[in-house]
Symmetry: none
Subunit: 191 residues, 4 copies
Amino acid sequence: MDTDLPRRGRPRSESARRAVLEAVDDMLVEDGYAAMTMRGIAERAGVGRQTIYRWWGTKAEILVEACVVDAAEELQTSPRKDPRKDLIVYLAGLGQFLVRSPAGLAFRALVGEAQHDATVRGLLRDADVLAPSAYAVLARVQGSMPAMPPLELAADQLVGPLLSRVLLGRESLPAKDIAAHIDCLIAAWRR
Amino acid sequence: MDTDLPRRGRPRSESARRAVLEAVDDMLVEDGYAAMTMRGIAERAGVGRQTIYRWWGTKAEILVEACVVDAAEELQTSPRKDPRKDLIVYLAGLGQFLVRSPAGLAFRALVGEAQHDATVRGLLRDADVLAPSAYAVLARVQGSMPAMPPLELAADQLVGPLLSRVLLGRESLPAKDIAAHIDCLIAAWRR
Amino acid sequence: MDTDLPRRGRPRSESARRAVLEAVDDMLVEDGYAAMTMRGIAERAGVGRQTIYRWWGTKAEILVEACVVDAAEELQTSPRKDPRKDLIVYLAGLGQFLVRSPAGLAFRALVGEAQHDATVRGLLRDADVLAPSAYAVLARVQGSMPAMPPLELAADQLVGPLLSRVLLGRESLPAKDIAAHIDCLIAAWRR
Amino acid sequence: MDTDLPRRGRPRSESARRAVLEAVDDMLVEDGYAAMTMRGIAERAGVGRQTIYRWWGTKAEILVEACVVDAAEELQTSPRKDPRKDLIVYLAGLGQFLVRSPAGLAFRALVGEAQHDATVRGLLRDADVLAPSAYAVLARVQGSMPAMPPLELAADQLVGPLLSRVLLGRESLPAKDIAAHIDCLIAAWRR
DNA sequence: ATTTAACCGAGACGGTACGTCTTGTCTTATA
DNA sequence: TATAAGACAAGACGTACCGTCTCGGTTAAAT
């Protein structure tokens, strides 16, 4: 165990940690990622700059911590009886997450940074923000879809069209198109 | 027309323009986007800094010019008799473009910047890098796919799964999965 | 010659140079050396920080440039007929310079820094702030002082007692003591 | 008395005190004053940082404690029959102290700090490092020097030329010049 | 042929974020 | 209650890049 050894020195300030994460969330919504500097985060959080570098070292690491928990929670949907409805509700929720939620904004900022920096790419891959929620809903409907491909590919087919639209700067999928997309998938997977 | 009036003064240096675009391509491949600064581009291209700002003003604008022409060319595929083969070849080519081609790298860097900056988002939307090529191949196979949704959604269904994989930092779709994905789409669209 | 080669690029800003030197002088008087930071100088002078590092690189180098010219001017005395008076006037002027003049403050700050940093020690030695003025007055009275030691030692004997008092934090020599000291020197040097 | 009341709690660690003073001496010799930070002293001494602030509060205060006792001891000379020899030996010893001894280095560092900081100036004045030893030797030779000025001025005349040379970054007085200087003083003071 | 206008490269300018360092204070567990 | 360890807020350090500006020099069309 690591909690057993009674660490010496002043312990880490939990309030400073929370202040940083909240500041990042707020600034992302208010000013956007480009205007969010380490210096600015520190000032906004009322925290020393060194304190940030001590625990995170990178804007991306802060973002990961700021969004993974919220993301998992926001993307989780309750099961429906109708598989079609189940998939539609999930995808609509994902759309809302990506364009409305602060956690979704953080996620998109991370995806953006990942295109510029291999380290962030790894960070994002390890965080595994979307897959668990997609796997969960797919596992629920899998029984009635004998031709569904393995989960990984099925998840890409499910979320890819919506996700790429948003990342390429277009509007999210309108409700009608979400339904049409799901109907396509069901037709293919039931075949 | 605007090219008719024969502007006075020294004309724009075509060699400087090409030097900048090549420098951007090279630096993107060698050092990555994060290490690519306006100052660095100017030095690498052997060009004054002001000259860059005179004609482009933004890294993103240079990237757009550096990739749109190449992208259109690299993504264009010759028609096949077999619609399935046609789609598979296109998607495999898109995968290569995204992870191998300098133009693809530039495109991904642009997508990254678009997450952080609304201006770049607009730029990227206007450049319309992927859609024309996807529409072209879809138009070719449309005849034999009576249930295919409108082109925009169909294009998202076609490229979304591959695109989102790459943008989220995972490997591109392996050949087997490309085939499986196309088979799903055909099954749904032929229905 | 070096002025012949027609330097490229924007020439150095003389106004920025003067602004920095004046800011240093003012801040030294108002806030003291310890409170004078590179950042503060830049802000006070209305100058970019990099501009300072481009031309000076060190607080000490700025101080040297800020005080050498003024020092030489302030320490120069006009000849008197009476050698005793000549020496007294010079020494009294040196006392005023050390405790009143901004240039003298800069000089003392430099001497302080020289105790901590060998580079500054060299800088100070090369600047040769005091010696020329002392040599000048000693050369004038040398004729009537057959036993005067070589100029270097004589200069130390002349200014050392006053200088060390001030540097060790005591008051400057009072007028009575200046006269007594000069009388001692004359007695020894006329012997 | 204050030492009588047997203070409660853990007594001050004498070993920590010595460790700090030794660390300061060593670092001054090895790295120089500029590279000597409170943090560095604490690490080198294997001592908590707070412990230093509790007992000294300032680098200057540590330096004073680190040098006053040693200085007094090193500057004390045994009486000679010949007053000339007495003065020469003292002055030569002072030169060695200033450029060789760790205590002398600490003293010069203090003089340096005193130029930047009025508090240190007061500290240095109160410590009275040089005067007692100079007064002692002057008192011994005073009998044979009827024209010697009051001790304070005489001491300045004795040590000033050497001291100012060293503080201004030049070499210490060579033996020949020490003798010449003393001979001047004797000539003036015997007059 | 000369003038004029816009271009070109180089490089200094005022700003500002970077990541590191040190300061003096504080909060732990230990002695 | 002193101690060593070490986290804390604050802020200076020197570097790098931003976008602008100001030079001397070049290149063509208009005079």
